[in-house]
């Protein structure tokens, strides 16, 4: 029968009449609650950043890149290779296509800067216009752009538009190396003018500030390649879990001198950073677990200490050790459950509103700083506006928040489980107390 231990435990949680919760309950609740909510916020931001990075990278960049490492490094009869790759990869591949990628120089009036050129296949509609592929990044200007005219057009990243002051319809000149290097002439350049059809946004600053996308035929003209020649064959998979499998399968077609690189090879540093973040996450969770455990142990020990006399009385009335154990375990356990549930809920609420909170804090700091600079005139340049999430560093329109439901569930489960274990230790100590020692102690 758990009725009596439950009743007593609940009373200890509630405290005497008139109080919402006992002081001990409030303390242990506060510990677990703040720990859980902070953990949720930290993980939501961590996961949000990771998710945003992955999305921007994986949605746009090819997952597998096949290159010819010999001779002129071109792949001839590429459509034949594409068909073979499609057959080999069965339904694992979403897109297999030819691609041309190269550094280039952008020239507009007297502005010259480096960019990165990427040419991919665009299907054409009945009127001959280029249709934007499904996996193409979001077009931010002009909005709802579905197709572009079949002429020398290009699409550029939205950050490049800001950097180079570009507008839709503007013309830019692209200069690329053409042909082989020779001692006589060096590398002859190839130059062509393209009209900007729109601006895209991948969410990845490097792409959005430096990438120019062309239809493949247009790039073949620029590089002086025949229509059956590309520089690479690229594969986009339906599921990245198939990356290794797909690479192995492609090796059956593309033997030496072809090489196959995966997106992970291409962004090795990035993936290493993600791995490091995971380690940090696990460390944070581990520290949280320790802090929560210590908190609950201390709080339950406090409850046990403050209820020492009650334990003596209950034992003298014949309550068993098991029931005493149950009372104090339930006490910590229930507090842990409620604190975890409310902690997770508050954490979700907090992370959803974190951006407004940060902006509010930012406003306060800037108002104080500006007021100080205005009134005390400490010198020009003393006060510069504070940006808690600098856009040029993180390159997000908003603070990315992402909940891994499985992870939240695991946090909740571990937190509740640990509440039980942590409260069990002092509860066990309470159950072993000798009533005579308690009563003698209370009398003295």
């Amino acid at each position: 029968m758990l009725y009596l231990p439950f009743k007593i435990a609940l009373r200890y949680i509630r405290g005497r009449s008139g109080n919402l919760f006992s002081v001990n309950t409030r303390l242990s609740f506060a510990g677990v609650f703040s720990g859980t909510s902070l953990l949720v916020v930290v993980l939501a931001i961590f996961n949000g950043f990771q998710d945003q990075f992955k999305k921007s990278l994986f949605q746009f960049d090819p997952h597998l890149i096949i290159q010819n490492e010999s001779g002129d490094r071109k792949i001839k009869d590429w459509k034949n290779f594409v068909n073979k790759a499609v057959d080999k990869l069965e339904d694992k591949a979403a897109v297999v296509e030819g691609m041309i990628q190269s550094p280039a120089i952008l020239r507009r009036y007297n502005l010259i800067d480096y960019v990165f050129l990427r040419a991919q296949e665009f299907q054409t509609d009945m009127a001959g216009n280029y249709i934007l592929p499904d996996h193409f990044p979001e077009i931010v200007n002009p909005s709802k752009l579905n197709y572009i005219a079949n002429e020398d057009v290009c699409l550029v990243g939205k950050e490049m538009a800001i950097l180079f002051d570009l507008r839709v319809g503007d013309k830019i000149e692209l200069v690329v190396p053409r042909g082989q290097f020779s001692l006589k002439v060096g590398v002859p350049p190839s130059m062509r003018t393209y009209k900007i059809a729109g601006f895209f946004k991948t969410g990845y600053y490097e792409h959005d500030s430096r990438l120019v996308i062309l239809p493949i035929e247009r790039a073949q003209n620029l590089f002086n390649l025949s229509s059956d020649t590309v520089q690479q064959i690229v594969v986009r998979l339906n599921d990245l879990k198939d990356l290794s499998w797909s690479r192995d399968k492609l090796y059956e077609i593309f033997k030496m001198p072809y090489t196959i690189r995966t997106i992970e090879d291409e962004h090795r540093n990035f993936f290493a950073a993600l791995k490091l973040e995971k380690t940090i996450q696990i460390t944070i969770v581990f520290l949280f677990i320790i802090a929560a455990m210590v908190g609950i142990v201390v709080a339950t020990y406090n409850v046990v200490r403050s209820k020492r006399k009650d334990i003596g009385i209950l034992k003298s009335l014949g309550l068993s050790n098991g029931s005493i154990l149950t009372i104090f375990t339930i006490n910590g356990f229930l507090t842990g459950i409620f604190a975890t549930i409310f902690g997770i809920m508050f954490g979700i609420f907090l992370s959803h509103n974190l951006e407004s909170i940060l902006l509010f804090i930012e406003d306060i700091i800037n108002t104080i700083g500006e007021w100080y600079a205005l009134n005390y005139k400490p010198g020009i340049g003393f006060w510069q506006k504070v940006r808690l999430i600098p856009k040029n560093v993180y390159y997000f329109d908003h603070l990315p928040i992402y909940y891994d439901i499985e992870f939240l569930r695991a946090v909740g489960f571990v937190s509740v489980l640990l509440s039980g274990i942590a409260s069990f230790i002092p509860a066990w100590a309470a159950s072993r107390m000798k009533p005579i020692e308690i009563i003698r102690g209370a009398d003295s």
């Binding site: 029968m1 009725y3 009596l4 009743k7 009373r11 200890y12 405290g15 005497r16 009449s17 006992s22 006399k309 009650d310 003596g312 009385i313 209950l314 034992k315 003298s316 009335l317 014949g318 309550l319 068993s320 050790n321 029931s323 009533p435 005579i436 009563i439 209370a442 009398d443």
Partner: protein, 226 residues
Amino acid sequence: MSIVFEAKDIVKTYKNDELEVDVLKGINLNITKGDFVSIRGSSGVGKSTFLNILGALDKATSGTVKIDGVLLDNYYKNDSIHLYRREKIGFVFQSHYLMPDFTVLENVMMPLLILKENKKIAEEKAKEALKDVGLENRIAHFPSQISGGESQRAAAARAIVHTPPIILADEPTGNLDNKNSERFIEIFSKLQEQRNLTILVVTHDLNLADMANKKYKMDDGLLYDF
């Protein structure tokens, strides 16, 4: 009359490093049903120790205790000493030891709930016991909201509510002033008559001790008729 309680050759020795103190040196005591037994004695002679041994709050160094013909040792051996405390004993201590988070009624219901009595029946019995000690108007109060005398009467109600074979009272009037002490003795005596309780009380209070039908004095670890 049947013997409810039988203590034979109870010895209690406290050992502290090399020092050994014999507090109880072989006490024998038989209590029959309906007896009101009082033990007097100066402080430190071992009265409370003896009571605690009988109430299974402390263990004797040697000797046997039988209640309703069952050896106390058997409860220890079967790891069921809580059952002995639960079913056989009602305790009244010098301090009331009411649990501060529970109302007077809940405190008195506690022994019955521990005995797994139905909640409604427990409530009825507790109310009846509180009525017997004159606290029917205090049932919803918390211990901090009633006086010391009332708290001690509530403790008495808690000791009798489950009608144990014996009530052990350790200086029940020790913390009360004269007026409250008299009231407590009056009520305690009435309870004993009404409910035919078997009571063993250790006390300094002559008035309380004189109410007993069997009076003993403890001196130097031994029990004498008084």
